[in-house]
């Protein structure tokens, strides 16, 4: 369609171009125009490929025809009347000049078929409607378009005229004139009917241009010289590489290694002691542990007693029952040899059901009505758990003449102090059994009691001989600082005593006299002497080491005295006691004081100054007692061979009565260093060791297990072991015998 486009363009040019443009030399103009046309033609092609209707085709061909005629006109105009005005001047009726302008070609596109000038405007109605009229319609100005000549006249004419070129014999419906087609137009039509591209010279099968081929181009695409960066190594890259190299050298980047394949489960489970620092946790109230499966009964045996075998009826009913209704999941069967026992086929299933029960079954606590009383009993601990306890005699301390009345291990556990009938107080090295120090406190009376002050910071020994208590800090075993400290503790009371005396507080008879014992004893370390009214048999220290109580059974109202070391003060807490006082103890944590008379033990609250409880052990003559470190349990030894365990929470009667000795029990003692042990010493020359575990739980009673009889002391004049004492930490025991020896048991 190049020609059409050409025409259109030119027309546009004629319209838009100003006069100066029009005057421009035609050659240049033409060249410019051409360029545009070339570029435009492709667009037109595209457009055309879109429209393929025949109507359009026809219309266009019509336009072409019109335009061609125009072109000729315009060319004519252009050529002939370059400067001619587009009007003609005529004279009107008045003789005035009248300008008749040429009809203005509207600036419509020529493609607008409606604006065809001079055409019939009757629209899209059949032409036959005008058959009876001389005209065939109206043009745009309302003038009749006359029917062209027709009929005989025309025929005659035709006959005389040759058939013009391009005659089709058709009538143009728009004009009513015979439709003539040019040669080219016919060609186009022909091509269209053949489904070919109507354009001239169009090659539907052009040769392929191999843009990307194996052929190497000789010439470069651009003539620019090759840049430097193409052949100079990149600094930036070098930097990055160096960075990586450095990282590899430093080990920051490891060369890739596929992760090691996992071996067996060994590597998965790491072995360590998960319970290394275990601490028990109280069970939650709402937690119900899974019930254990009951142990098998007789009927589950592979070879049960014959009476457990089911009879025929039982077997039948069992088999008939539904699996869930059965009371037992198996039928007792007898196999007379182990080799005849088959596999149990429901084994895996039962295990699985147990699993389901464990995680899927709601647990409910049910109170059981008939409980086996045995199950309530505490289980005996394993023998291994009972260890350690003293078993053998390790050291024998010889040196006392006559009986050893009393002995005590100091709070550090290094020294053993003993007092005997010879009136001496001796200090021994516990492990070696060597005597380190000794002092004769009384010449005519035995040293009845020796007791170390419980605080480990200073070494102070309280020893009683007759009516006197001596506070001794044995010089030979002490370092200067320790001696200083001990001396300070003992001396601090002098000032207090003096001040109270100057106050003139009491002129009446004091319960005890605090004095210096005299130069001989003071040189040896006995720094203070307290004289009470009657012979002292028992000394007990308060845990802090400031108070100590003494018991002198014959002393009537002054039988029990409490001394305050820091004030050099002695008090008599009881005006009178029922019966003879035998022993006294401080409660290990509370301000409670226990006093044992022959038959009963009374506990007093020291703060409120009132009686708390009376225990009736049921013994005829209590010899000694000891309070457990927890304070709720007491052991009592009696001269009528009983050892009694009292649980203070339980009752005033003993929880257990033990009679394992043949002779009177002289001394009982708990281990105060955390081991669940206690021991008693008897006149039959033996010491018995017991395991006595007290559980904090109120529901559980104490477990008492007899462990050991230690025999070694010989009985002399009906007296065996007179005193025992535990090591403050180790499971070691020392005992004082009437045979003049002390023994260390471990």
């Amino acid at each position: 369609m190049a020609p059409t486009a050409l025409g259109q363009k030119r027309k546009a040019v004629t319209r838009d171009v100003t006069e100066e443009d029009a005057t421009a030399p035609g050659d240049v103009f033409r060249g410019d125009q051409l360029d545009q046309i070339l570029s435009q033609s492709e667009d037109e092609d595209d457009q055309e490929s879109v429209f393929s209707d025949e109507e359009d085709e026809e219309e266009e061909s019509k336009n072409e025809a019109d335009e061609e005629s125009e072109i000729t006109d315009e060319y004519g105009d252009e050529d002939t009347s370059d400067l001619k005005p587009n009007y003609t001047v005529v004279q009107d009726a008045n003789g005035n000049p009248r300008y008749i302008y040429k009809e203005i070609d509207p600036a419509y596109d020529s493609e607008d078929s409606d604006a065809a000038e001079g055409n019939n405007t009757i629209g899209n109605i059949p032409l036959s409607f005008y058959d009876s009229y001389p005209h065939i319609g109206y043009d745009i100005n309302g003038k009749k378009v006359m029917r062209p000549a027709k009929g005989e006249a025309l025929d005659a004419l035709l006959d005389s005229i040759e058939i013009p070129k391009g005659w089709t014999g058709l009538t143009d419906p728009a004009t009513g004139k015979p439709l003539e087609l040019s040669e080219e137009e016919l060609d186009v039509l022909k091509k269209i009917t053949r489904n070919e591209v109507p354009e001239d010279g169009y090659d539907p099968y052009p040769d392929m241009v191999e843009y990307f081929s194996s052929k190497t181009e000789i010439m470069p695409l651009s003539a620019a010289p090759e840049p430097k960066r193409r052949f100079v190594p990149s600094k930036h890259e070098a930097k990055r590489v160096m960075k990586i190299v450095k990282a590899i050298r430093e080990g920051r980047i490891q060369p890739y290694r596929p992760p090691p394949e996992e071996d067996e489960g060994d590597t998965v489970i790491k072995h360590y002691d998960i319970w290394a620092n275990e601490e028990p946790r109280a069970d939650h109230v709402m937690h119900i542990p899974a019930p254990k499966l009951p142990p098998p009964g007789y009927d589950e045996s592979y070879h049960p007693p014959p009476e457990y075998l089911p009879s025929k009826e039982e077997k039948a009913t069992w088999e008939k029952e539904d699996e869930e209704d059965r009371e037992k999941e198996f039928l007792p069967t007898d196999h007379d040899a182990l080799r005849k026992v088959p596999g149990y086929e429901k084994f895996v299933k039962e295990r699985f059901e147990r699993c389901l029960d464990l995680y899927l079954a709601p647990r409910v606590r049910r109170s059981k009505l008939d409980i086996d009383p045995e199950s309530l009993l505490p289980k005996l601990p394993d023998p291994d758990e009972l260890r350690p306890f003293p078993t053998t005699c390790a050291t024998i301390f010889r040196g006392h003449e006559g009986r050893v009345r009393s002995l005590s291990i100091d709070p550090t556990g290094k020294w053993l102090a003993s007092g005997g009938d010879d009136g001496t107080v001796r200090i021994w090295e516990l492990l070696s059994g060597k005597q380190i120090w000794s002092v004769k406190v009384a010449s005519d009376e035995p040293a009845n009691v020796v007791r170390w002050r419980p605080n480990a910071e200073a070494y102070i020994l309280a020893a009683a001989a007759g009516e006197d208590i001596y506070f001794i800090s044995p010089i030979s075993i002490l370092s200067p600082e320790e001696e200083e400290k001990s001396r300070a503790i003992l001396d601090v009371g002098w000032g207090y005593a003096a001040s109270s005396e100057t106050n003139g507080q009491s002129k009446k008879e004091t319960p005890a006299k605090w004095a210096r014992p005299g130069a001989r004893l003071e040189d040896q370390g006995a720094l203070v002497r307290v004289t009470v009214r009657s012979t002292i048999k028992v000394i007990t220290w308060h845990r802090r080491g400031d108070y100590l109580s003494t018991v002198s059974p014959q002393g009537q109202s002054s039988a029990v005295a409490i001394h305050t070391l820091s004030k050099h003060l002695t008090q008599l807490p009881f005006r009178r006691l029922k019966g003879l006082a035998q022993s006294a103890q401080f409660h290990p944590s509370k301000p409670v004081f226990f006093v044992a008379t022959q038959r009963a033990i009374r506990s007093y609250d020291l703060q409120k100054q009132q009686l708390v409880k009376i225990l009736q052990p049921g013994a005829r003559w209590i010899s000694s007692f000891d309070v457990h470190a927890g304070g709720d349990n007491i052991i009592v030894g009696s001269y009528d061979r009983r050892l009694l365990w009292h649980d203070l929470d339980l009752s005033t009667r003993p929880y257990k009565t033990l009679r394992y000795h043949k002779k009177a029990i002289r001394q009982v003692q708990f281990h105060h260093g955390g081991l669940p042990l206690f021991a008693d010493a008897s006149d039959d020359g033996s010491v018995q060791i017991f395991h006595g575990k007290v559980v904090g739980d109120l529901m559980e009673n104490a477990t008492i297990v007899p462990l050991k009889v230690l025999k070694g002391h010989t009985v002399k004049s009906e007296l065996g072991v007179l005193d025992i004492d535990w090591h403050p930490r180790q499971p070691w025991l020392v005992s004082a015998g009437a045979d003049g020896t002390c023994r260390l048991w471990n």
Partner: protein
């Protein structure tokens, strides 16, 4: 005015949460929730009032504590589960794209590893807590150790279970903490006491387990995962507590040959403490395989040479043991006896592990081919036997595989007593006469050779009895262990009718039947008489008809299984032949007691007698009839009196019940119901026993 309380904000409605709610709250899938619950030991609860607990109108079935679920929210495992879910998606995507390699890589490298250590510590704050919960763990792991591997159970898991179980058994052997064991129809029960905790578990017999049915192995697998972790920590603690290195050395090649327990070598911990091969001491020297070639003789010599020093060494150990005992003798707990009556008697603990664990110490055992090796080995070793040998067929690691070994004192046999003639000849042990001639040996020498060759082969001819050796059935071991003493072996001789095997855990409660006591001791008043009356009416008639019936039964059996009866007959014949044989053996034996000889008598009646004796009652001659009648009359009187008294008692009880409140009455009725049921059961058993005893008497 008080504020109106909103419904469902407090109390049960808030304390309980349904499973669906829980799963939704935790944002995990149900299987994951299940796993989490198993690991954490969280179980559903039963609210006191279901209606109050559930907010929906429809009754929900499973409730959990809200607190429990809240506590699960903080579980680190939850994140692992989520990671796993994400990974599963990635793998799924990779597989969908057909990138198998990618999927495999993802699975290999990114699978989150789940560790349960913290959960173990959390669930069992102390070691004793863990021991308390070991019952199920051991049963489960021992089962899995005996299962074949399938798609659901990877072989790795099974190997791990086996290893852990064997390690645990080793601990029990060393510390002698096994207490009791019981052969049940389900399997073998064991009970051990560790740190005062009784642990009871069940091991199946070595058969292929039936695994079909609706068994979800994923659930079992989850449990096994938890239990393996638990047991490995427990094992570690147990081993380190006795100064051993954990894990013990595991010899895979030895395990492949079926050594089981002996595949492990235990080592002491410190260098100063000599690394002692606690188990393999003796067997290591003898563990060399016995060749059946011609150099067997030389090798055997070598072995015997080796044996001697080892025995010396043992003696040395014994001496040192003795010395140790002297020390421990004073270390042991004394027995206290009260000196007067009115005192409390304190219970004292039973002898410690060492004492009870020394039951089989002086003996050498040999297990015959047909006996179950694993349980016997474990049991014998746990009770002190250091030398347990077995047939080479049963696997590696035996003290000796030579049945003819002189040191063997006991042989455990579980086969019928067949005469030699009934057995097929063993061809390969006898060299052909031609060979003998070729070797140019005299006949006597050849015989010696034969013997030696037999012994070198490790196998005697079946049925032969080595003189001086005690032959027992496996049950002997179990009964000895349970009673804590060596029982008469002749009751358990091969072929003998075994006494009933009783569970060591049953403690007779009042009113329950106890098979160890005689009938007279536990019968209630009037029960015997009533029974006598019942029987007496039919006695005369039934005595014969019973026999007839029995014959009839026998005939029936014969019809059903002809083979069996034929077999039993032949057995009888065999026994006759045995009788011929026995004297010879006795001569060889020499040291057997007269009683045993009597018992060896294979008479059927005698066997019955024996049975009766085992049951603890005497066989008596039948009473004269007139006495019988007078007795019957007496019985009648007595039963009547008893019945009357019972009736009166019942009436009295009814009257008392009327006075009680409803609640108390219900409680009482429940108790009575329980008691009655128990008594009925006991009565039924007694009745059966009576009938049995009577039948024994009749014959």
């Amino acid at each position: 005015m008080a504020k109106i309380k909103k419904k469902g904000t407090s109390g049960q409605a808030k304390n309980f949460i349904t499973r669906t709610q829980a799963v939704r709250k935790l944002q995990i899938s149900l299987p994951d929730f299940r796993r989490l619950c198993i690991f954490k030991g969280i179980y559903p609860r039963e609210p006191r009032n279901k209606k109050k607990a559930s907010k929906s109108s429809t009754g929900s079935t499973t409730f959990y504590y809200t607190r429990d679920i809240q506590y699960l929210l903080h579980e680190p495992l939850l994140n692992k589960f989520r990671d796993h879910k994400a990974l599963a998606k990635k793998i799924g995507r990779a597989l969908g794209r057909g990138e198998i390699k990618d999927a495999a890589r993802l699975e290999r490298t990114q699978t989150p590893k789940i560790t349960l250590d913290h959960i173990i510590k959390e669930r069992y704050p102390t070691f004793v807590d863990a021991l308390r919960d070991l019952d199920d763990a051991l049963s489960m792991l021992f089962l899995f150790a005996n299962l074949p591997s399938t798609a659901a159970i990877p072989p790795k898991t099974i190997a791990l279970c086996q290893r852990l179980c064997l390690e645990f058994q080793h601990y029990l052997i060393i510390t002698h903490s096994l207490r009791k064991s019981f052969l049940s129809i389900k399997g073998i029960y064991y009970q051990a006491t560790i740190q005062g905790q009784d642990i009871l578990w069940l091991i199946p017999y070595k058969f292929v387990q039936r695994m079909e049915g609706d068994i979800d192995f994923r659930i079992m697998g989850t449990f096994v995962e938890f239990y393996t972790t638990l047991l490995s920590f427990v094992n570690f603690r147990l081993y380190t507590s006795i100064g051993l290195v954990y894990p013990p050395k595991f010899n895979a090649s030895s395990d492949d040959q079926g050594a089981e327990l002996d595949a492990f070598t235990l080592e002491g911990k410190s260098v100063a403490e000599q690394p002692k091969n606690l188990i393999n001491g003796a067997s290591a020297t003898n563990g060399t395989t016995h060749a059946t070639t011609a150099d067997a003789q030389a090798e055997a010599d070598k072995l015997t040479n080796l044996d001697e020093p080892s025995e010396d060494r043992e003696q040395g150990e014994d001496l040192s043991d003795d010395r140790a005992e002297e020390i421990t003798a004073t270390d042991a707990i004394d027995t206290f006896s009260p000196t007067a009556d009115d005192a409390d008697i304190l219970p004292q603990p039973a002898p410690s592990n060492e004492e009870s664990g020394a039951l089989f110490t002086p003996f050498t055992f040999f297990l015959s081919r047909e006996t179950p090796r694993a349980p016997l080995e474990f049991l014998l070793k746990a009770f002190g036997s250091k030398r347990v040998g077995w047939d080479a067929v049963l696997g590696d690691g035996a003290y000796t595989t030579n049945e003819g070994d002189r040191s063997i004192t006991h042989q455990i046999v579980d086969r019928p007593n067949l005469p030699e003639g009934a057995l097929p000849a063993v061809p390969e042990t006898k060299p052909s006469p031609a060979q003998k001639h070729a070797n140019g040996e005299t006949d006597g020498a050849a015989d010696d050779d034969e013997k030696e060759e037999e012994s070198s082969n490790g196998r005697l001819r079946p049925g032969t009895r080595v003189p001086g050796r005690i032959y027992v059935q496996p049950q002997w071991v179990w009964d000895c262990v349970n009673q804590g003493k060596l029982l008469r072996p002749d009751l358990y001789a091969p072929g003998a009718t075994l006494p009933p095997h009783l569970s060591p855990w049953v403690k007779a409660k009042r009113g329950e039947y106890d098979p160890t006591l005689s009938l007279a001791e536990q019968e209630k008043e009037g029960e015997v008489e009533a029974a006598m009356l019942e029987d007496g009416d039919e006695d005369v008639v039934e005595a014969e008809s019973d026999e007839e019936a029995e014959d009839g039964v026998d005939e029936q059996i014969e019809e059903e299984t002809g083979m069996k009866i034929a077999g039993s007959e032949s057995e009888d014949e065999d026994e006759d032949e045995d009788e011929d044989e026995n004297p010879e053996q006795d001569e060889e034996w020499g040291g057997i007691s007269d009683e045993a000889e009597d018992l060896e008598d294979p008479d059927v009646q005698h066997q019955r007698e024996l049975e009766a004796e085992a049951l603890g009652q005497r066989l008596t001659a039948n009473q004269p009839k007139s006495e019988d009648e007078t007795r019957k009359n007496e019985a009648k009187m007595k039963t009547k009196a008893v019945a009357k008294r019972r009736r009166e008692e019942a009436e009295e009880l009814e009257r008392q019940k009327m006075m009680m409140s409803r609640k108390k009455r219900k409680v009482l009725e429940k108790m009575l119901y329980g008691n009655e049921k128990r008594e009925e059961e006991a009565e039924k058993l007694r009745k059966k026993r009576r009938a049995l005893e009577k039948a024994a008497q009749m014959i």
